[in-house]
Symmetry: C2
Subunit: 873 residues, 2 copies
């Protein structure tokens, strides 16, 4: 059976990303709509995967197709690969389905050899250029395909520069470059034992293989793990006719976004370098000029560029990230893709595009990465703090936000200190893909080189990490671990503050304030609310948290944990007395001292949540958590409790558990000590009555944790109902309330039909359900879960995104069978998965009623719920 | 709607046990087949349950029916309840569907009052008898219905006896008894404030209510819990015309079995007392005569008795336990029921009855309680030990078996010390239902009073507990905690040995030996094998265990745990070295030292199991279990390992887990340390090759524990397969083997369709599956599970009998979905439930292939599997 492994740019289109990769599909689409694109072909992602399954060998079939299409390329360009005249020179660039900027390899100027370099020299009339290209090609192939240290080549160039007294690369003369080519080839021979390949076809196959191989290099694998990109989709290879931005001052190269990627403003935004190759811009070695400069430098080209840029955005109906090259006054487009943007920019662009009539609301909603909203909720520096601080340096506002932390000068150290718990700022001359782990762990990033599209800037924006790039006045000494900015010298470990929104850097720690939600953010939230089916509640234990969540649009409290309330200093003593009681009487006495405090807690919650449901969970953790662990504390606390150290220790020993996760906790406490449930039920209902009398609308839902059998649930429900009946009688008042249960042990899910006969609502505690379904203790799994992710056994941490196959199946089954007994059973999720977009999509698909998440995730959940509704419709 | 609450004995039959209780149905059936049964009526179990649901009030409807039927009873007996002449006197006896001997209450002589007692005196010509009956009645009603301490009454009698110098109750004269009745009534009035009721109807209603109430007395509830009898089936009340065995030497009362309940021998076996009431026999106060004595005392009655006894057995086709009374030379039957018997007797009777043509093989199989077989596997004293020991006393061989332990003289102390881990022998004058918990905990029971049908004897046989009853020469002083037997004085805490098979008691501990399986046991096992579908394997870690299990009929090893092998002293050092290694190299080195030992282990197993499947599980426990916990050990072991104490302690800290049950164990170890799985796979396959070369047939099955995802399973399987491939190459030999997994985390069950694509067999680890499905840590649940059983939330410990609703549902689903991917998937159970009859029934019903249990449970499992096949057919 014939497998098509190679496509001409004229054969594909934007829908073929799976096969052609993002870059290949973009080049094909641009070709299709008539943009000036250098001609080329794409070797498919399938070829890459077949290369791997074929033991990392390129099959004859693939090879034959490549050369067949290459022949065609020669025909349409009128050039010959390795030809004596009009030689075809090409680049080989990676391009996966999902963009992985800078993670994989590229080789330029393929086809150069002692013959063609001379032809190129003659035809361009620029021998210096020809040999500069040749020496770059030798270095690139040696570095990328063979793995020879790039520094060996750089050093040789530096030697010549020193010898000749040149200060810049540009000073290198034709002869110097010819000599350098010779030296480079010697380095190649020394390392490989072979001559540098002159046969262009051999060069090409080496390059294709190198690109395929780069799919599995260390940093590409890391990037995929970090971004949840599958490992089995491979990269395509694009072989494209070379165009040169470094052929003089009528040449240049640049990158641009059709809108501002930091703010979303509708205005083409880019940077370019005159007389340079693309790599010079991306690598951040020279600081480029803003695109506006092109208007002055080459006004015609600028107009052409703007026309094509608008054409691209209108065609793709999304903000585009474009690479272009100007070769001797002729504009070429080398790449277009949907542009990475900050959350702020994404929101503004989406809302603007709806207003412009470019896209509809649904598309706008779908286009924003729900998770990215959390960026906007990072605190900013307070106005007062900014007014009173003097910046030590200024760079480009590469990725917005505010961060303070200790300075480290290498990604390794940044990572290490961050993992030890420090807040860390990574300061570098510039960053490279190797730094990705350290960047991920840092709170903020500062570089002295590179522009808005430098590696540091692009990656930081993708991570939602605050970044100031290109602080050119700053002098970074990575080896000696300090930087100087004017008169200020900052050493490793010193604190600085970074404002990614303004580009300013400060010494010390600046005070922060909360972000507010307005403008496009507000609009997108409103649109989301129009489309979403799932309700969004919050997990909040205090009125303060509840207020924050309300502000973010929470529609109720899905989980109010009561155990934190018991840890307050004035209460823990009574709690401990209760635990150390040897009679029901003294236990009840201690509980009755806690009662008025609990009433106050709940009353405040009800008042804040006025009119919205408040789900309160009864005491959940094992009692030993309330007792001291250290010998020194035991001494003090025994005295406080008025009991002997020995008897306190005996009680601690008695309560010790081998597996507290599976121990005496949740409603099991209420079975053994019904008086705890009684006290809490009394507190909740008394508080609700008080709040009602105060004028608030109250909708209490009492939630019983960890139920595993109907009889157990019934027992605890009966205890609660009896107590509430008493409260109603004593207060001569009654209110509506609901009694429900958490579904968090697998058995509860399996017997949901039974449980729903008693429970009026289910709340899935997917944290514990995951622990028990997988048999993973969350406190311990850290010790081996990385092995699982490294060995590709787990795609992601099941505590971050719900395991649909196992845990999700239980949730689905539970909801379906629960509704058999009680068709109006209300079902929600209160585990941390309630704030995870992928999980929210799943919960929507199985028809749950709501998710509940931490206050700061509420906007994420609202958006994700809307996206889920749209996708699941 | 009319509910029939009362049945005349002529209206029911043996099939109506649910409604009439066992006793009522038996009386009705005996009446039906023409046996001499005193006339009576039965108030249904439904009436009892309605009494409870009606707030413990007997409804008018029930009351009316009782008196309606009572009127009929008066008509057919020609007697009048409370009549001036020919008064009707009745007993009120409890009788639940399932026999609960002695657990509930009985009241005799209802209908006596100042008038009827005189009529009775006149009509019987025995005024002493009439007042003796009256005083017994007053005491019984006061004790049973009102709860007045029986000792108050006994003390008054003792006072009169002392005053008059009587030594026995029988010496009490007519006038003494009349005086006693007066005193008894005063006691009643003192306690209740009311006169003792004279109205027979009032007496009757008090008695009925007392019987209903006794359904929920403490000992009845305990008994039901112990015997897994539901709490919601209630007791019937049988109102029956009194007949008197205490009307002189032509009267008597007794109990008998149609076969010997200890041995099963086909020969009527019983005991009786001349001139006594039934309670005297059962209570064990007087030691009765063997039934044979009746042949001499009343030959005609004896012949009649034997005729009727045979008639009963032929009618019910089962060994009967009969109560009878002789009133002035006339024989009456008061009860018949299927007789409780030892396992030995059950086997012999069942096999004999098949040979006699009374029942078929299936019935024989169904009739034996599978669990009871374990009794036969209790060790007996060795012949040598018996030959060299002199008994200190002799009693009746009430329940067979052999036990040694420390003597305690109260049920409470026996229980307490047994729970503290001691082997305990309970020694009492006689036992009563209050002693049931202590009896259950003791290894053996010795009483100085009572016969083969005394409380101690009946209960001990039911429990399969060794018991010697009625050691009349023994003098037990319960208050001062010692007993004397001849010259020997044994104090609390001293060791004795009890031989329940011979009735002999020894000082000290006697050596025991294994029981052998022959005769009826063997026959029943053979018959079971004919009928059962489930295969029975064993859990065995050593060749010794494997041999024992083979002897009991095991068909393979379902679980060979390898961790115990690592704990042997010569290996643990290498194991610890492995764990403390800081490089793969040194880890492999330590493992390679363990390898030859593991090969030897497995080789021995394969040779013993020649031709049978051997399932070997890879290392399962978390590694910290192999490291020392105590400071003193750390010091020693650090030295042995040649590392510093600090670094050993650091490794221990590093491996510490909060919830080891959900931690780094099972196949998770093989993911982190594939070299462990490699070593074990190599050992298993090398051993199999060695055993094959030696001439054994080998069928190794390698079992991967705790898998939770297909990728995880595949990873470990690949490691194993690669290693085995190497072994085959090195040994130039290959053998068949299977690779499978345990299903023990709930997720594994949920994704069984996926797992079965890789695994060739599933073994359900129902212990862990129960822990995770319920969220119950087995190590910790002890702290609260009793609350659950006490509060009737759990019917039984889910670790003893599989939870069908939750865990069972997962097993069923897993097996069904696993077979979708692999129709010949082999599915078994290796958790402890594999030896539990109720669980085996379930596993058969869902179509598993085998169960695996501990060697001593193999016969139980074989029988239970046959019963399951018959029931599930």
């Amino acid at each position: 059976m014939y497998k098509k492994y190679v496509y001409d740019f004229t054969q594909g289109d934007a829908d073929m990303k799976d096969l052609l990769g993002g870059k290949g599909a973009g080049l094909a689409e641009m070709t299709k709509i008539g943009m000036p694109v250098p001609r080329g072909i794409t070797i498919t992602t399938q070829a890459c995967m077949d290369y791997y399954s074929n033991g990392e060998v390129i099959s004859d079939e693939i090879r034959d197709q490549i050369f067949e299409y290459l022949k065609n390329l020669e025909k349409v360009t009128g050039k010959t690969f390795g030809g004596n005249k009009n030689p075809l020179l090409v680049s080989a660039r990676s391009g996966a389905k999902i963009s992985m900027p800078g993670m994989m390899d590229t080789i330029l100027n393929l086809g150069l050899n002692p013959v063609t370099v001379e032809v190129l020299a003659k035809e361009t009339g620029n021998r210096r250029f020809a040999y500069d290209s040749y020496r770059r090609f030798i270095m690139m192939l040696s570095d990328v395909a063979i793995g020879i240290d790039r520094n060996l080549f750089e050093d040789e160039m530096d030697k010549i520069k020193a010898e000749k007294g040149y200060s810049n690369d540009i000073d290198m003369k034709e002869d110097d470059l010819i000599r350098l080519c010779k030296i480079y080839k010697d380095i190649y021979k020394e390392h490989t034992g072979n001559d540098f390949p002159d046969d262009p076809k051999e060069q090409l196959m080496i390059a294709v293989k190198a690109v395929f191989k780069s799919w599995n290099n260390h940093r590409a694998i890391s990037y995929r793990k970090l971004n949840n990109i599958p490992h089995d989709i491979g990269t395509a290879v694009n072989i494209q006719e070379m165009v040169y931005g470094n052929m003089g001052d009528d040449s240049g190269t640049g990158v641009a976004f059709t809108r501002n990627p930091a703010t979303g403003e509708k205005k083409v935004f880019g940077e370019y370098l005159i007389n340079a190759q693309g790599e010079d811009v991306v690598a951040g070695i020279r600081t480029p000029s803003p695109l506006e400069q092109l208007k002055t430098d080459m006004p015609e080209i600028y107009d052409q560029f703007i026309k094509y840029a608008n054409m691209l955005e209108n065609h793709f109906k999304d903000m585009q990230d474009i690479e272009f090259t100007i070769e001797k006054g002729k504009l070429f487009f080398l790449q277009t893709r949907s542009g990475k943007r900050t959350a702020t920019a994404a929101l503004r662009a989406a809302v603007d595009m709806v207003k412009e009539g470019l896209i509809d609301k649904k598309t706008a909603i779908m286009r924003i990465q729900a998770d990215s909203l959390t960026q906007l909720m990072y605190p900013a520096f307070s106005k007062t703090a900014l007014d009173n601080a003097t910046p030590i340096t200024k760079g480009l506002p590469a990725s917005p936000g505010a961060a303070s932390g200790r300075v480290y000068f290498s990604a390794e150290e940044a990572k290490e200190h961050a993992e030890a718990g420090e807040e860390v700022i990574l300061v570098r001359k510039d960053t490279s893909p190797e730094d990705i782990d350290g960047m991920n762990k840092a709170k903020g990033i500062v570089t002295s080189h590179g522009g808005m599209t430098s590696h540091a800037a692009v990656v930081a924006r993708g991570m939602g990490k605050c970044c100031v790039a290109g602080c050119e006045q700053m002098n970074v000494n990575e080896a000696e671990k300090y930087f100087e900015a004017g008169a200020v010298k900052i050493y490793e470990g010193d604190y600085i503050s970074v404002n990614g929104t303004t580009g300013l850097v400060y010494k010390g720690i600046l005070e922060k304030e909360e972000a507010n939600m307005s403008g496009a953010f507000k609009t997108i939230m409103e649109w989301s609310d129009e489309y979403r089916r799932l309700k969004v509640r919050t997990n909040a234990d205090t009125p303060t948290d509840a207020r924050v969540a309300l502000n973010f649009g929470a529609e109720g409290i899905g989980l109010c944990r009561t155990e934190h309330m018991f840890f307050k200093p004035e209460r823990i003593l009574e709690m401990r007395k209760m635990i150390c009681s040897d009679s029901i009487k003294s236990r009840k006495e201690a509980l009755s001292n806690i009662l008025p405090m609990q009433i106050k807690d709940f009353e405040a919650m009800f008042k804040v949540m006025n009119g919205k449901n408040v789900t309160i969970r009864l005491l959940d953790p094992p009692l030993h958590e309330f007792l001291p662990k250290e010998q020194s504390d035991i001494k003090i606390i025994a005295k406080e409790l008025g009991i002997s150290e020995d008897s306190l220790r005996a009680r601690i020993d008695e309560l010790h558990e081998f597996n507290p996760m599976l121990g005496h906790r949740g409603c099991r406490l209420s079975v053994t000590y019904p008086e705890i449930a009684q006290m809490q039920a009394r507190a909740i209902i008394t508080a609700a009555i008080n709040a009602k009398r105060y004028g608030a609308k109250v909708m209490p839902e009492i939630m019983i944790p960890l139920a595993g059998s109907k009889k157990e649930l019934d027992y605890v429900m009966e205890v609660i109902k009896q107590e509430i009946k008493k409260v109603f009688e004593q207060e001569n008042e009654s209110i509506e309330y609901m009694l429900g249960t958490m579904i968090e042990v697998p058995r509860a899910a399996l017997i949901s039909k039974e449980l729903a006969k008693s429970a009026e609502f289910f709340s899935y505690g997917t944290n514990d359900l995951t622990q028990m379904t997988y048999g993973f203790s969350r406190d311990d799994a850290g010790k081996f879960i990385n092995d699982y992710i490294d060995k590709n056994i787990l795609e992601c941490d099941p505590f971050s995104s719900v395991d649909q196959e196992g845990v999700g199946r239980l949730v689905k089954l539970s909801k379906e069978e629960g509704k058999l007994s009680r068709p109006d059973l209300h079902c929600g999720v209160c585990g941390e998965h309630g704030g995870d977009p992928r999980s929210i999509y799943f919960f929507d698909s199985i028809g749950l009623d709501y998710v509940s998440c931490s206050p700061y995730r509420v906007p994420v959940a609202r958006l994700a719920a809307a996206q889920a509704s749209i996708k699941n419709a």
